[in-house]
């Protein structure tokens, strides 16, 4: 395993292999997932904590949008500041990245990594069903991400900020999105069934 010169892909593989495999310990299988109710209660308590401490719930797409705005600003500040959609981001002296949502997203990244690594669920891999090739799966992944970015921006929030957070306070628009999200996903399931089944 250990070579002096290793390719980037091997370094990536080693990074995601988790501490036990990196140390050459005997390979044990992944630990079992939590029951959906246990994980749901933890998620609900975290959501409540966000309300109790910050007065705001959880989110993901808003923070990514701020990263995009910062990238635009880095590339061409005049262009970024001229975009109508970013007008609320570029006010005052502070950075567009100094925001609650962004620090929360960094926490998600590290929390997800730590949890997966300690449960031996972290591994460089491609998630797909048996009836589709890697290229097809990656194309769908890119397209799905693109479509969801538009969905989240049009609706002012994604599955975290609206479907979960808004619904927990029974916001009418968020509950509508809860229903439409499941409807859209079930409608699409038949069309993309070769990807997953």
């Amino acid at each position: 395993m250990t070579t002096l010169v290793s390719k980037p892909i091997d370094q990536l593989r080693a990074f995601f292999a988790g501490p036990e495999e990196r140390d050459g310990a005997a390979h044990a299988g992944p630990k079992p997932l939590w029951s959906p109710y246990a994980a749901g209660i933890l998620l609900g308590v975290v959501l409540f904590a966000a309300f109790f401490v910050m007065g705001r719930g959880l989110g993901a797409s808003g923070a990514m949008n701020r990263v995009m705005a910062a990238l635009y600003e880095l590339a061409n500040a005049d262009f970024a500041h001229g975009l109508t959609y970013y007008r609320e981001y570029f006010v005052g002296d502070g950075s567009v990245l100094y925001d609650y949502a962004l620090f929360q997203l960094l926490g998600v990244l590290l929390g997800g990594y730590t949890s997966a690594a300690f449960a031996r669920r972290s591994r460089l891999m491609l998630e797909k069903g048996p009836r589709i090739g890697a290229g097809g799966r990656l194309t769908y992944a890119f397209a799905g991400g693109f479509v969801m970015a538009w969905g989240a921006r049009i609706a002012r929030g994604c599955t975290s900020g609206q479907v979960l957070t808004g619904s927990a306070n029974l916001a009418v628009g968020s509950l509508t999105m809860f229903v439409m999200f499941f409807a859209g996903a079930y409608i699409t399931a038949y069309a993309v069934r070769k990807q997953w089944t």
Binding site: G44, F48, R56, A60, L110, A155, L170, V172, S174, G184
Partner: protein
């Protein structure tokens, strides 16, 4: 009891400390998503082939848990419900946006939050999803001026079912909790039916 929450809005700490809190809350959020199995696209999309309804169970459990804790702490006089940020309703863009989120979810395999966990646990398709998401985010502002009319269509302000239904919020939350428990029995029944109908589909 004394009204103390939301702690940040009651000025228990400042903006810099809020970022540390946000990081801690995010860390727990990422942990919960990963423990549920939401770092992997097959677990997430199984919901829509009926043989594993974990997505529905986790989300509804989380919604009910938070709702009961929020309404109970508001009823106890600890939390000012009116100070919580609640997204305003814009019904038409939310109908279309919700549909697009659903379509993209079964195609892409992730949502924005879970894609971050998938990247953190080594999913290559998750990394591609994030690239696609940023591509969408890059294009959207360029077309925003043409879309702005629709973006603001059907604005109803901040409106919740707590405003609409003339019952104490804690009672409403308890009713929703009972509905959730009933729906979990239904979801488990559907899982069993689907696994008999399509035996090759396994969680």
């Amino acid at each position: 009891m004394d009204l103390i929450a939301p702690l940040f809005k009651m000025e228990f700490f400042g903006a810099d400390a809020a970022m540390v809190w946000a990081f801690a809350i995010g860390f727990a959020f990422g942990t919960a998503l990963e423990k549920a199995g939401f770092g992997g696209a097959r677990k997430l999309t199984a919901q829509f082939y009926l043989y594993d309804m974990t997505v529905f169970k986790v989300m509804f459990t989380a919604v009910v848990t938070s709702m009961v804790l929020v309404t109970a702490s508001a009823a106890a006089g600890l939390l000012d419900f009116g100070a919580l940020f609640i997204p305003a309703t814009f019904i038409w863009p939310q109908i279309v946006g919700g549909l697009l989120l659903g379509v993209g979810f079964t195609a892409g395999g992730y949502c924005p939050g879970t894609s971050v966990v998938s990247v953190a646990s080594g999913r290559i398709d998750g990394m591609m999803y994030v690239l696609g998401f940023f591509a969408g985010l890059a294009v959207f502002p360029v077309f925003f001026d043409a879309l702005e009319g629709f973006y603001n269509a059907g604005g109803l302000g901040v409106v919740t079912l707590f405003d609409v239904i003339a019952l104490p919020p804690l009672l409403i939350a308890s009713i929703v909790a009972a509905l959730a428990v009933a729906s979990f029995f239904g979801a488990t029944w559907v899982e069993g039916w689907a696994r008999v109908r399509w035996p090759h589909l396994k969680p």
